[in-house]
Each structure stands twice: as C-alpha cells, then as structure tokens.
Subunit: 307 residues, 3 copies
C-alpha cells in the first residue's frame, strides 16, 4: 500500500511496490485518456529551492495529465525562505494547501526532514549530490519497457562514475534484481567508489577505462556527463572527453538491440549523429520519466485505475 508514503530514496519502496508503480505506468502508457481526471481536485506543490527545469516540467506535466493542478516556486529567491522560516514550518503550511509535494533542495536531507513534519506525501526531486529517486524510477521503467525484465542483462555505466549520483542510485536499485552484470567504464580519476562495488556481493561486475572494448557485450549502455571541473588540467579533460564520446564508430560494435540511456542534459558525451539510431532511447527515456511520475503521484495519493 503506497498511499500516503513519502519517496526520499529509492530503497523506501520494496521491489513489489516498485512493480506496482511500473504496472500502473504501463497501463497509463497504454491508455492515457483513462487517467484524464484521475487526480481531479488534487493539488501538487512544486518546491524547487534550486532550479531544475527538466525535473520540474516532468512532475508538472505528470500531474496536469492526471487532471490535477500545480502550484509552487522554481527557485528559492521567490520563496519565504528569506524570512527565515524553517523547512518543517514551510511543509506544514504547504500541507494546508496541497495534497502532495515535490521538493528539490541544495542541502542533503532537506526533503527527509520535511517528510517528518508533513501530513502529505513528500517526493524528493533531488537533494544536493545525494539522492534523486525519480530519476532512478525513470531509468528502471525505461529498461523494463525495452528489455521486459531487469534480470539477464549486461549493463555498462560510462562517464563520471565517481560523483554521478544517478549512477550510484541505479546500481543500488538494480542490485535488488538477479543476474545482472555491471560494467563500470570510467577514467581512473572518475572510477566508481568502492563502497558501491562492495555491496555487489551477488552480482558479476568489472571495471575498465575502455568503452570500445566493453561495448560489444552490453545490453544497456548508461551514459553520463563528464564535467570539466572534475579534472586537474584541461588537456586531460579534452583527451577523455573525446575518448568517451559515443558516435557511429563506437556503436558499430554494439549489439543490435542494445539501448542507450542518458539522464540528460547531455553536453558532448553523445554525438548528435546517433540521435536517430533506434538504439538511442534517451529522449524516450524523458517520456518514461513523465509516465513513471504519473504512476507515482497517483499511487501516493491512493488513486488507482486499472480495469
């Protein structure tokens, strides 16, 4: 029973609860018109203490497509924060107006704190470099939709594996399913932290810095941005940027049904020349992000329409 729950990190939900959400998302994708009034009379508050167009848009579109309504702020400057109000007071007041709230905050733990004082469900839409659980739900639904199952896949994760919270979160979430092999593809400076790999006791995995060598066996390739500011010198950054850039050449050696994911926005790590390749599903992934949020909101509000 998901009604009234908060979503602060992906592990707040059991595998069964996630399955409930994905099943509902499937049904929404099949027949979105059935859900046009599913949240009629319900209000979502979007509390973005830090701007994030993409994430905010996907939540707002999700609620609006359910027939619900939205109000909120898109940056802290236009909020009461300046008057010194605590997060716990803010969420209690917002709970007087809204039925469910989404919070993005630059400080780790802020959404968690809010949820403790909240009468309405709180969804974490990113707290600093910490958690971003609906991105993980998006990634999972995309994989599930294309691959039908989480199990029996080889997944390559490429780019900044050291700081990339979406990668850490996805690895942790996937490790709850059986028979997945992880390939961590990153330069030494940006390799996956050991506290992540140490938890992979029941899964095969290996690390490499060579995308071209790793690509042939992958069923899923999850690309992430390599950020300039992570490097000591620009030369090294420029060398690596090219080295990991996904293009036609590198794709030649990939499986026909491999899928390429990216949390977006991309900068240089995927060449636009492959955007029309059928394996490039990163824009569809954005669409799955909206559908999974529709299912999530509906579940937390206690609604459910599957005939």
């Amino acid at each position: 029973m998901l009604k009234g729950k908060h979503l602060i990190e992906p592990s707040d939900f059991t595998v069964n609860e996630l399955e409930e959400i994905f099943t509902l998302a499937d049904d929404i994708i099949q027949d979105p018109n059935k859900y046009l009034d599913a949240c009629k009379g319900k209000l979502l508050a979007t509390l973005f203490y830090e701007p994030s167009t993409r994430t905010r848009f996907s939540f707002e579109a999700a609620m609006l497509r359910l027939g619900g309504q939205v109000f909120g702020f898109s940056e802290a400057s236009s909020s009461s924060v300046s008057k010194g109000e605590s997060i716990s007071d803010t969420i209690r007041v917002v709970g007087c107006y809204a039925d469910i709230a989404v919070m993005r905050h630059p400080k780790e733990g802020a959404p968690k704190l809010a949820s403790k004082y909240s009468d309405i469900p709180v969804i974490n839409a990113g707290d600093g470099g910490h958690q971003h659980p609906t991105q993980t739900l998006t990634d999972l639904l995309t994989i599930r939709s294309y691959k039908k199952s989480f199990s029996n896949n080889v997944i390559g994760l490429c780019g900044d594996l050291k700081f990339g919270r979406t990668v850490h979160s996805l690895v942790k979430a996937l490790s709850r399913y059986e028979n997945i092999k992880f390939v961590f593809i990153a330069p030494p400076e940006l390799k996956i932290p050991s506290y992540i790999t140490e938890e992979l006791t029941n899964h095969e995995f290996y690390q490499t810095s060579n995308l071209e060598e790793a690509i042939p066996e992958l069923d899923i390739l999850y690309m992430t941005r390599i950020q300039k500011e992570r490097f000591f010198n620009e030369e090294e950054y420029l060398r690596l940027k090219g080295y990991y850039k996904l293009d036609h050449d590198k794709l030649n050696n990939a499986k026909d049904d491999m899928i390429i994911l990216h949390p977006l926005p991309r900068v240089d790590e995927i060449s636009p020349e492959i955007d029309n390749d059928k394996r490039a599903v990163y824009f569809n992934q954005a669409k799955y992000g909206m559908y999974v949020r529709m299912a999530l909101i509906l579940k937390l509000l206690g609604g459910d329409i599957i005939c």
Copy 2:
C-alpha cells in the same frame, strides 16, 4: 451583493458582507467537493510585484480548488514593469485576460489605484506596510470557527504591536463587533500606536509588557514576530525575544480552550515544543486562509453554491 467588488482594505466590506463570506467558507469546509467546478472557466491573475510564497500559494490553491485556473508572476523582475508601463495600463490589459486579479505591491496604494481602472475585481494581497485584508479575513474566520462568535472574548495581541499591520487591521476589524476586550502585550519600544487605541471607544482594553501575567484571562492569543531590526541594540532584542517566547511554561497558566494564532512565518516567538498542544491552531489558521479566499473569490465572481 459582493459580485464585482474590489477588496482593498477590510472596511470595504460591511459586517453583513463579511458574514456572507464566512457562511460560504463554512459550507466549503463542510463539503469541498461541491465546489470542484464552481469557478470552471474562470481565470485568476496573481500579480506579485513583491514575492510572498505563502500568500500567493493560498490564493492559487483557493482558485484551483474551485476548478478555476491561475496565471501570473511572482516577482516584479519577470513583469513588464521594466518597460515603464503604468499600473493602470497593466491592470486594464490583465483585465482582458483574467476574470479576477490579486495584487501584492511594495508601494502603499498601488492596488487601490489599480482597482480604479479595473474592469475585474482586484484583491489587495498586501501593499507595503499598509493593508493585507485577506490576512484579516483569515484571522476572523479562524476565531469564528473556534469560538463560534466574535463577541464575548478576551483577545491578547503580543509582540510587535507598533509596526505589525496584521494586528492593526485585526483590532480595527474586531472593533466592529460587541463585547470584546483587548489586551495589548508588547515592550515599550513596540507598543500599540495611540491612533489605534483611540478608536476603541466602545471596548475595554489595557496595555502591558508582561505576557505571563496577561495570559490567564485570554480566550485568544495572537502572536507576532519581534523583528531584530526594530531595536537599537542587540542585547535588548535578545532579552525581549526570550521574554515573549511562548512555551509550555507560559501556556500552563492559560485557559484550556484558549486558541493561539500567528500570521506566520514564525521565527523564534513560539517554541516548536507547543506545536502539538491543541490550543496551537496557527497551522490550521493557514488552512482557514485558503478556505476564506475560496469564499472571497467565489463571491466576487458572483458565484454562490449553498443549498
């Protein structure tokens, strides 16, 4: 008949008109679902030349819960003001798009000026330190809901009584009802101005700086923030801050059915330790703020659904 009227200051409405609004608010609270489409097809413009999350949220939630829609801006920087347009032109253009408008403005009198040129009802959502009439309506509905009547109450107003516009406005509004005793609790630096007390010719009142002594006889305690910038020296501020802080100790001597109100946001003047005391109704007050705005909007638009 409230249809088409503006609300610039609380005295724009007669006691009977206020009663109309409160009666409608009662009915909305009883059965909000009856009002889900009450404002379908109607648009509210929120013109916030100065940010105010709480007030804006309560108006937007109110309109959305009536089935109406909302557009607007939340700070002047994203408005046409920069192009030098006059308030009178802005409201006439907004009147082409919207059915009703809410305006917050840093300058006293701006909403009044707008209302003179407007074809649609204009609600003042705060103009400088001047008026904030829907806060007063919120306070009144809260008192009426808990105490059933405005009359026959002793109300204590505590904190910054010199600059606090919500206090001035509430005192004036309550003075239209019979048999209310006012207790003004403030340090000498922040005592109530004489032009307020001079109008209380038909009401008992007294002034004190001692919250603990005053509290036992109160039916209603209205707390407000004491702002640091009002004091000449920090030492004095810190001493007084503690002196007026409402906590378990001070509440021990209060009546069992006293209610504690606060316009929010609070900073230090109410200890979170009393948040769960049943007398602490300041978060519910925020909810009454939404309901009273629902009733207000519906009345000004000429709608009315009470069977």
Copy 3:
C-alpha cells in the same frame, strides 16, 4: 490544414490559413463557453528565455480558456540553459511532456531552430528584434473585427518605423491584401527602411513626418513607442516625443470611425485623456490577442469546433 504546423513568421501561413484562424476566432468570441473543454488534456509549454509578461499572459490565458493546461519558465535563469543544453535537445525533451510549445528567445532564429527538431508545434513568441508573428495576428484580427475587411483602408503607421518589428511585420502581412494605402509617419531618424517600401509594388503609400496633416484621411492609426535610446541627443527626443503624442487635439481632425491600435505597452505616445474615446481600441486589441491565440493553438493542435 494547420494541424501540426509551426508558426515562426507570419508568412508561414497562407492567406487562406489565416482566414481559417480568424473565422475560428470569431466563433470563439461569439460563444467562448463552447470551447471550455476544447483542449482538455492538452499541455502548452511556455519557454520564455526572455521575460515578457503580456505575451506570456495572453498565451497562458488562451490555453487555459480552452480547458488546456500550461507549464514553463518565464526567464532563462530558472531553466536548464545554465547546464549548457542545446535548444534542439531542450525542445525534444519538452516535446515529451507537452503537446505544443511557445518560445520567446533573445536570439534571432532560435524558435526556427527549435522547430526543426520538434515533434510538437512551435510558436515563435518573439526572437530578438526579428519576428513576433502572434502580434501581427492580433493586429490583423483587430482590424478585421472593426473594419470587416482588410481591403479599402488607409492605414497610418506612426512612431519608430525604423526598428519597430511589429510595424514591419504588419506592413508585410497587410500587403497580401488588395487596395490598402500605407502612410508612414515618422521623424527622419526613424523612417521606414527602404527594403520594406520596395516590396510595396502593388500598393499606394507615402511618407511624412507630420501626424496632424496625415490623420484626416486615415481609417486605421497604428501607434508605436518612440524609444529614447534611439536618439543622439535628449533634446531632439523630447521635441519629437511631444510632436507625435496622440491627444484630443490631434484626434479632432480624425475620422469618426478611425481606429487607434498600439501593440502596448505604451509610455508617452498616447495621452490617457483619449483612453475613453471610442476610437481608442488598443485595450480591446489585447483581448483580440487572446482570442487569436486561442484559435491558433486550437488549429495547430488539430481541434476545431465550429458548428
């Protein structure tokens, strides 16, 4: 068939397609209630990389009055742009969430670029000093509503004819209709560029700097702002500002059924003393702006309700 088309510049639509939009707008004006749910379940994204309250409001009100919903941003600072995302990626992601998008951008050509990558209709809401096609549609619908026909009119265009993009666009749009005489009224510093007049091969026109002499023969007078920053010295600016200011005196010599248009906001070029003259239709023009956008959105989405 307008369904799925983009609107980047006015000439993207044929005269017949424009007529389709105006006919639908007429019907909406006649009976707006018929369209209360015309866009139910549809989402408009408003992508304002540059603030523009008036234009954004008119689009949002249009969509909301059709029963559709709106999300977006009102200035670039709260968007993903800061993360270095390209316009082409942004529009593809927005296309996952929305059914139609409106874009204002400081750079010429940005909406055009977006439209090339977009799966959903893109409407240009102004790109730098370049195009602002829905202003032109607004001007045309206003003229058509008051004058019944575009042909057989003398139209005076007054003010900054050198830089004013709305004037250039309107002249080009009107030149597609027969028997219109253009009178260009401007100081020498701000006269209409020759590349505009050179295209008027089938129309009578003349240039003058004298508004008073020109006004008697006009059926339509289109006023625009004269901006201080266009002049070398302030003295010259102040002299001209008064010279072109429309007031009771100048109106005395105008036809009884002449109509005065202005894209707004106005600053000093129209005296408020004539606001109540029946020939002053510039505020109604703003209303036509909303109606024409309702018709436009509905057409691009493939909807159409005319019995």
